[in-house]
Each structure stands twice: as structure tokens, then as C-alpha cells.
Amino acid sequence: MGKLAEYAFVAGTLSTFLALVGYVFYALSGVRAARMAAAGVPMTTGGIGFTSGPRTASIGHYATLLGGLSVFAIAASLVLRTIATGHGPFSNMYEFSIAFAFGILCAYYWFERKYRQRVLGLLALPVALALLAYAATVPASIEPLVPALQNNMLLTVHVATAIVAYGSFTIAFAAALLYLIQPATGRWGLPKPAVLDEIGYRAIVIGFPFLTLTVVLGAVWADTAWGTYWSWDPKETASLVTWLIYGAYLHARVVRGWRGNKAALLLLVGFGATLLTYFGNLFFGGLHSYSGLAGV
């Protein structure tokens, strides 16, 4: 079962990579199409070959299919791994990185279905791919759970809500980055800034309540395992900082002088904080760095 999970993981990683290649071609053809349209070249089928409208759409279509395949492969990998270990994907960086990548892919495809802005995939998929590649470099062996982690139900839900949040934040990051690199009138055939602004907001509308739930569940776990719901442990604090930044973003959208660029900037900062929270336990070495008991 563990072996099968790894095969599914490899298949998912490969198809994510291929999907990303597809999105790169899709975006390039979009840029060329935009340039030609600006230069007055008629956008008919055939004629300009590779970059013509229908052709562009079909590359995007294949990219989407490949990405969909990786969603299924990684879902299968997570399910098989859960069966093999008997617990959710929360016990090490290998499991959690795959789960994070899964969250990003799911969030991306949800947004692609809703907004049809495939260019976002160009930024979202590399993040997912980087996490999968990172997972490939860390030990994948199945270790039994240390006592502190023996709270399967709670921690599985905790990780599930976290990946919904982190996946959404990645989409918001992608939208904000595309927003910031172009003028208000748009450029390079990228999605219009107004659309990107809405996508960023919608992503936070989903991600923020889920991050809230994640932090609260983390506090519930800390209270059962450590006897205190809050101890300013670096990982806890980093998640609070992330939460505050996205909270600030929700306000920024309605404060004059903060909408637009500054709000988008907060999304980039928020994503930085998300990554810090995520990779934090690698270098914080906090009070209880999940090794088990503090005094042992």
C-alpha cells in the first residue's frame, strides 16, 4: 500500500510537471496573440498557426486535463498512504507537503472552473510542483506516531482545513502577483486587474475562515496535548501572524488608499507568512518541535 502510494505520488508529480509545461505554452501563445492583436494581425484560425485562438485554447485544454490527472493521482497517493499508515497526512513533512500540493491543485482547479483564467496556473502549479519536489527529497518512510501526535481525528481535520487555507492563499498569491506586474489597463494578454482583484479576494474569503478554523483546532490540540491552548510557540505565532495579515487584507479592500496595489501587496506578504508558518518547524526549533515531550 505504501509502495502504491509512492507510485501515485510520482505519477502525480510527473503530470503536474507536464501540465505546467502546457500552461507555459498556453501563456506564451497568449502573449504572442495579444501582441499580434495589438499589431492589427487578424485573429483567424489557421493563418498564424501555433498562436491562433483555437490552438491556444486546445493547449490550455490539455494542460487542464493533465492537471486534473495529477489531482486524482495525488488524491490517490494521499488515500493510499492514509490506509498504509492508519492516520491522516500529518506526521511528517513528506505527508504534509503532498497534502499542501494537493490543496493548491484543488484550489487552482476550482478557480479555473469558476473564472477560466488559465494564466494563474502558470504561478500556482510551480508552487505545487516545488512542494512535490521537496516531498521527494525528504524521508518517505512510514514511522509510527509519537505520543503527541496520537490524536488522529483532530489532527487530520486540522491538516485538512490547513490545506484548504494554504491552497486558497496560493491562488491569492498568484492573482496578486499578476495584478501587481501589470498596469490597471492590463498587459501581455494577462487577466484584467479587476478580475485578478476579485480572484484574490474570493480566495481569501475561502481561505481566511479555514485558517481561523485551523488555528482554533491547533489550540484545541495544544490544550489536550500540552495543557495550554496558547503558548506563543513559534509555529502558533507564525500562524497567528498569517491570520492577522489576511485579516488586514480583508479590511484593506474597503479602506480608501489601501485597495488595489497595497491590498495585493498584503497578499504577497501573507503568502510569505504562510510559507514561514509551513516551513517554520524546520528552523524555529520551538518549545515543542513535535518531537514528543518537552522534558524527555
Partner: protein, 505 residues
């Protein structure tokens, strides 16, 4: 003093427009633009200062900056090593700790320490920003209540004609049917879509419709919950207690601090490991809780399974070896016989050590375990007994004793009976926890509802036309958003169809 005057004025109703200074009433007005004309003199100056403060606290921009400032200091706290609890209050431990981190931060160490950056979560900075943020959140929450209440109970129905041209979503329709028919059809469509409608007829029919009109309360609840959580945390820090160094050897019974009559006994402690990797698999303390001699609870306390009794909880925190030591006086009466947790480590040699004191004797006894065959002073099968004067801390005598052999030291007979284990429990009583959990519940549900449930408001204006038909303008407000656009478009389509009939559309 002046504040009291203000309240009295209000109660007596003698201050006609000064009422604008009262928070709840002020919220109807835009923050900062509150009329203070009725008040004069010192009270007026104070009122306007309070108004300005209120304006600041309810300002979204100020709130935004506070949130970001809090986040920035929190970030410093995650990136800089923080002093462990207990070190900060002990000057000696503090100096030692600072010396330890000095290689890492160099010349900055002193500055960072002066700025309280090593104890940032207890620093004046975070306390001040936190207090302001709490005040601002309370102010914002209160500020929004009256307006939200009014919008819900008495929505603004008549919005004026220009609104229908400038609203982000707007549409004008003309029909060949009489206004009454159009109204009936439109109301039916709205009802089917779970809108509530309010109409007003002043020659022109004015329509207001909203869906999920209670939704803004969820946002208020979400903000209020932050205050609830902070209140719960304060209750905990004022009336709770925590002993994270509560140690108990196997077979020993100990009174629970601050809980009169409550004692806990450790039957056994067991630590188990996975055979293949050697990683810990379980830590279990089998404990019995007694109140005035009656057993009130018995449980295997594990890391994720604390023993909860009332609002006192016992958590498995750590464990270690213990030495059972018996002390008898010259007459053979037992002064002490219990497991001594060897919970500390000696500075020189790294031996595990533990301590206890003897009732009625000015002596603190330290028990030192061996580190193994290479230990020069304590051989395997021995412990060293070190005696210190309790008052001065001066050493009296030191002697290694063999297991099972009663040995007389300073008129008392010490026996090292055997080795055993102790468990380290974290004993906590936190009456604020239920408040915190209630706050968390409100927080999650409040913001989920506020952000997931759409709140829609639509206005309409229906006038008759000279030809007997009617013209209907509808408009919605909200930021341009594709969901709102889609809903508005489909609503307009539905109304059209309902009026003209699907067959003809």
C-alpha cells in the same frame, strides 16, 4: 469627573445635541463628523477629544495599521529566540541566557534585550498594541450595531432616481402590463429567491428587497468573539494557576497545589518504545485522584488524554528516574520514605539529581544518581546523599550509600531502597478556557457565515407609463463582483419572464 457629568446630562435629557457624543448614538453618523455644538466649555472640549478618540478607534485605517503592527511584532517573536518562561524574572538566569545567545546576535544582544524583544509577548509594545486593538475592535463592533439594526428593521426604501443610474448593477425594463401586475410578478420572483421585500407607494412604487438580511450580524459576532477570547484569556491569567513541574514518583501521593483536599497518587508510570525504531510509542501515568480521602477519579493519563476533574486538568508532560529513599531517626521512627524524582542534572558531571526536605529539620537532602561505571564518586548501585542547610544553603556533608544498606549520616539513617520512575505532570486550572472556546466558536461561525453567505440588497422603482404599461428600474449595490453580477442578471431575467410570460421571452 467630566465623564460623569456627561452621563448625568444624558440621563436627564438636558443636552440636546450633545447626545451625538455617546458612542451608541454616534454610530449613526460618519465617524469624526459628530456634532458637538450643544456642548460648551470644558465639557465640550472633553467631548470633542472623546469624539476624536472614538473616531480614531472606529477608523478602519487605524484598525488596519494596528492589526499590521501586531502582526509585525508577532513576526519578530517568531524569528528571534524568546526567553523561556521563568528565565526572565530571575536576573541570574537572565544573564546566563543572554550570554548563551550573545554569539548569535553579537552587539545587538543588549539592544534587543533593552527593547524587550526577547520577551516580546510580555513586552510593553505588544501589550499596548494589543490593548489598542482590543479597544478598537470593541469600538468598531459597538459602532456597527445601531446601523446594522436599522438596516435590518427599517431599510432605506426610497433611494432617489439617480441611484438607478449610478449603481454598479442596474437595469431598466419596460412592460406593457400595469404596475400592479409587474409588482406582483416581481415580488413573487424575489420571494422564490428568498428575498424579503418592502414596498412604499408614493405615486411611484419603491421596492426594497434583501436576502440573508441577518448576515451582517455574523460579522459583528466574529469581531465580538475576539473580545470574548481576550476576556477568557484574562480570566485564565487572573484566576487560573499552572504547575508545569508537578512530579510524582511511583507509589507516591501528593497534594494538588491550591486545591484544598485534593491529592493525586501515581500507581505506575510506563514508557514504551517502538521495537524497530526506538521512537517513543506511549507514556502512561496510572493515577488516582482523591478528595478528602475519597477516590473521585482514576485514569490512565496519556499525552493526548489528560485527566480532567472539574476545571483542574492533569497532563502528561515528562518523566524520569526516581530513587526510593527512607530516612529514619535514631529511635527508628521513619521521617521520610518515598520516591525522589531525579528531575535535575548536576552542573559538574551531569548526574541526575533530586531533592527533598525533612520535616522539622533544617536540612535539604539531595540525592545524586550515578552516571555509570565511569562515575568517580557514585558507583552503579549507589546514590550519593548530599546534605545542605535549608536556610543558608551551605553544604554539610556528602556520602555515597549502597542500595539496601542503611547508612547513618549526621544522626539519621538513610537507605537507598530501589530505583523507580516518576511522572511529570502539568497541573492546570483555567476557568477562562470555556470562555475561550465559546469565543473560538463564535469566531469561526461568525466569519464563516459572514464570508460564505451572500448578503444581497436590491432596490426597485416602478412607475406607470402613459400607454398603460410600466417601467421598472432595478439596481443593486456591492463591489463589482461576478457572483453579484450573475445573480443580478438572472434576477432581472426572471422578473422579465415572470411579467411577460416564458412563452414570449
Amino acid at each position: 469627573m467630566a465623564h460623569t457629568t456627561r452621563t448625568q446630562n444624558l440621563a436627564a435629557g438636558t443636552l440636546p445635541s450633545g447626545a451625538g457624543a455617546v458612542p451608541a448614538a454616534a454610530s449613526a453618523l460618519p465617524a469624526g463628523g459628530l456634532p458637538t455644538t450643544g456642548a460648551t466649555g470644558r465639557t465640550g472640549a472633553l467631548d470633542s477629544a472623546l469624539d476624536r478618540l472614538w473616531g480614531l478607534l472606529t477608523s478602519m485605517k487605524f484598525g488596519l495599521l494596528l492589526i499590521l503592527a501586531f502582526a509585525a511584532f508577532g513576526l519578530v517573536g517568531t524569528l528571534l529566540i524568546q526567553m523561556p518562561a521563568g528565565v526572565a524574572d530571575d536576573p541570574q538566569a537572565r544573564a546566563g541566557w543572554l550570554a548563551e545567545v550573545r554569539p548569535k546576535y553579537g552587539g545587538w544582544t543588549g539592544i534587543l534585550d533593552q527593547l524587550q524583544f526577547f520577551t516580546i509577548f510580555q513586552s510593553v509594545w505588544l501589550r499596548a498594541i494589543g490593548a489598542l486593538l482590543a479597544a478598537s475592535t470593541i469600538a468598531c463592533t459597538l459602532h456597527r450595531i445601531p446601523g446594522t439594526w436599522r438596516t435590518m428593521t427599517k431599510p432605506h426604501v426610497n433611494v432617489g432616481p439617480t441611484f438607478f443610474e449610478h449603481a454598479p448593477q442596474h437595469e431598466q425594463m419596460t412592460f406593457h402590463r400595469a404596475p400592479a401586475d409587474v409588482l406582483a410578478a416581481a415580488e413573487q420572483v424575489l420571494k422564490r429567491r428568498h428575498y424579503r421585500t418592502v414596498t412604499l407607494d408614493d405615486g411611484t412604487v419603491r421596492i426594497y428587497a434583501d436576502r440573508n438580511h441577518w448576515q451582517p450580524w455574523a460579522g459583528i459576532a466574529g469581531h465580538f468573539s475576539i473580545v470574548v477570547i481576550l476576556a477568557g484569556a484574562m480570566v485564565g491569567s487572573m484566576w487560573g494557576f499552572r504547575d508545569s513541574q508537578f512530579m510524582l514518583a511511583e507509589g507516591a501521593t501528593s497534594a494538588v497545589p491550591t486545591e484544598p483536599g485534593l491529592s493525586i497518587r501515581l500507581n505506575s508510570f510506563k514508557d514504551t518504545y517502538y521495537p524497530d525504531t526506538g521512537a517513543p510509542s506511549d507514556y502512561v501515568s496510572d493515577v488516582v485522584l482523591t478528595r478528602d480521602g475519597q477516590t473521585v477519579a482514576q485514569q490512565q493519563v496519556r499525552v493526548n488524554e489528560p485527566l480532567r476533574y472539574g476545571d483542574v486538568s492533569f497532563y502528561q508532560a515528562f518523566f524520569g528516574p526516581a530513587a526510593v529513599v527512607t530516612v529514619k531517626d535514631a529511635k527508628g521512627a521513619t521521617l521520610y520514605s518515598a520516591g525522589v524524582p531525579l528531575a535535575w542534572t548536576s552542573n559538574n558531571g551531569g548526574n541526575k539529581v533530586g531533592t527533598f526536605s525533612l520535616p522539622g529539620q533544617n536540612v535539604a537532602v539531595w540525592v545524586v544518581a550515578t552516571t555509570g561505571p565511569d562515575d568517580p564518586s557514585v558507583k552503579p548501585g549507589q546514590v550519593a546523599i548530599e546534605l545542605y542547610a535549608s536556610d543558608t544553603g551551605n553544604p554539610i556533608v556528602q556520602k555515597s550509600i549502597d542500595q539496601g544498606t542503611p547508612t547513618t549520616i549526621e544522626n539519621l539513617t538513610y537507605t537507598f531502597e530501589r530505583e523507580t520512575k516518576y511522572t511529570g505532570l502539568n497541573v492546570a486550572k483555567d476557568p477562562g478556557t470555556p470562555i475561550v472556546w465559546f469565543g473560538c466558536f463564535l469566531l469561526v461561525v461568525g466569519f464563516m457565515v459572514r464570508l460564505f453567505v451572500p448578503y444581497r440588497r436590491i432596490w426597485g422603482q416602478l412607475a406607470s407609463r402613459p400607454d398603460g404599461g410600466s417601467s421598472l428600474s432595478v439596481a443593486a449595490v456591492g463591489r463589482r463582483d461576478s457572483d453579484l453580477d450573475a445573480e443580478f442578471t438572472s434576477l432581472v431575467t426572471d422578473i422579465r419572464q415572470a411579467v411577460t410570460g416564458p412563452a414570449r421571452s
